[in-house]
Symmetry: C2
Subunit: 220 residues, 2 copies
C-alpha cells in the first residue's frame, strides 16, 4: 500500500516521507495517550520520550504544543459526537440525556485532557462543530423536558459544567478510587429529575458563548 498523498490534514504540498508520516501518526497516538493521563500539563518532550523518538522529530512535525493539540482536536471531538449520536437514539429523552451525560463523564474521567483539548482551537470550523454538538444536546434536553422527565430549568449549556464537576472528583480520586466519579454522576443525574422537592435553580445558566472561556480555565 502506498502513502495516500495526504501528508497533513489538508492535501498540502509534498507528501511526507513514509517514515515521517509513520512517526507523525505515532506522535498523535502517543500524545493522545499522554494527554489522557496527565492532561495538557504534559510537555512535548514527554510525548517524544514516551513515543521513543527524539524531541526534534516532534517539533519538526508540530511547531509547538498548540499545533499538536489542534491536530488532536478532531479525534477527541468525534468521540463525543458519537456518544451524542448514540445517546440521541435512546427511546426517551430522559434516557438520552442520562446516557450522554454519563458517557461524556466517563470519557472525561478516562481522558484528563479531553475538555482542555476541546476547549482550545477556537477556529471557525471547531466552533461550528461545537455548535452542532450543542444543538444535539439541546434537542435531547428539550425532548426529555417535554416528556416531563427532567426539570424544566436545566439547559444544554449545563451539561458541560456537570462534566466539569464529575471530572474534579475523577481527577482527585483517580488513584484511590478510580470509579468514585460514577457515584456522583448518578447523584447529579438524580438532581435533574423534576417533581416535588426540587427548588427552582436560583441563577441563570451560562450563555453558550461564555462556555468556551469557562471550560478553558484549568481548575487549579
Amino acid at each position: 500500500m502506498v502513502a495516500t498523498g495526504e501528508a497533513t490534514d489538508d492535501g498540502s504540498a509534498r507528501p511526507l516521507r513514509a517514515d515521517a508520516e509513520r512517526n507523525r501518526r505515532h506522535i498523535l497516538d502517543v500524545a493522545a495517550e499522554v494527554f489522557a493521563e496527565r492532561g495538557l500539563a504534559a510537555t512535548l518532550n514527554d510525548v517524544a520520550h514516551r513515543a521513543g523518538i527524539g524531541v526534534g522529530t516532534v517539533y519538526r512535525r508540530f511547531p509547538d504544543k498548540d499545533a499538536l493539540v489542534e491536530a488532536l482536536w478532531e479525534r477527541k471531538f468525534v468521540v463525543l459526537l458519537e456518544v451524542a449520536e448514540h445517546a440521541a437514539a435512546s427511546p426517551t429523552g430522559a434516557d438520552a440525556v442520562r446516557s450522554f451525560v454519563c458517557a461524556a463523564a466517563e470519557a472525561r474521567a478516562r481522558d484528563r485532557g479531553l475538555v482542555e483539548v476541546l476547549a482550545r482551537a477556537p477556529s471557525d470550523r471547531t466552533a461550528r462543530q461545537r455548535a452542532r454538538l450543542h444543538a444535539m444536546v439541546d434537542e435531547m434536553v428539550v425532548r426529555a423536558q417535554r416528556e416531563g422527565a427532567i426539570r424544566p430549568d436545566v439547559v444544554a449549556a449545563d451539561v458541560p459544567l456537570l462534566v466539569v464537576m464529575v471530572a474534579a472528583v475523577a481527577d482527585c480520586a483517580r488513584d484511590v478510587a478510580p470509579d468514585l466519579w460514577r457515584r456522583y454522576t448518578e447523584l447529579l443525574l438524580d438532581g435533574l429529575r423534576p417533581g416535588p422537592g426540587t427548588t427552582e435553580l436560583s441563577g441563570p445558566p451560562l450563555e453558550p458563548g461564555e462556555l468556551g472561556s469557562v471550560l478553558q480555565r484549568r481548575p487549579a
Copy 2:
C-alpha cells in the same frame, strides 16, 4: 495594652518584640487573603509583597510555606465548625444537611485555598478536629435519613466530595459568572432527596480514612 507573652502558638521561650508580633499577625491575615484568592499556588513572596513587608520578614517568622499553612489551619477550620454548628441547629435534618453543604460550598467558593489548607497538617490534633466535624456531619445526615428526607445511600463522607465538585465550577467560572456555583449546588442538593426515580448509587463512598489523601490532590 501589652503583648500577651504568647509569641508563638504555645507559650514558647521569649515573647516577640511588639512590631514583630504585629507583623506576624499581619502576615497571617494577608496570607489567608492571598490563599483565598489564588489557592496555595501563591508564594510566600506574594504574601510578603501584598503585606507590604520584606520577604525576609515572612521567612523569619515562618520557615516555609508549610509552617504558615499550619498556622492558618485553625482559623480556616473554625469557619467550617461554626458553619456545622449553625447547621446542626436547624429544625430538620434535611435543613441541616442543606444548610451545611451550601455554606461549606460558599466558603470554598470564596476561599480557593480552603480545602487545600484543611487537608494539610496531618497532626494528631487536626485529625481529631476533622473527626469531630465528620461526626457532626454524620449526625445531620443520619437525622435527615431517619426523617426520610434524604436518600439512604449517601453518607457523611460524600459531603466533602460534593464541595469539591462545586469548587470546580466556582474556580473555572469565577471571572465570568461568580455565582454560577450556586446553580449546581442546588442541583446536587436536589440529587440528595429520596424517593421515586432515584437510582441506587452504584459504588461505595470513600472510606473516611481515604478522604485525606483524596482532598489533598490538587485538581489539575
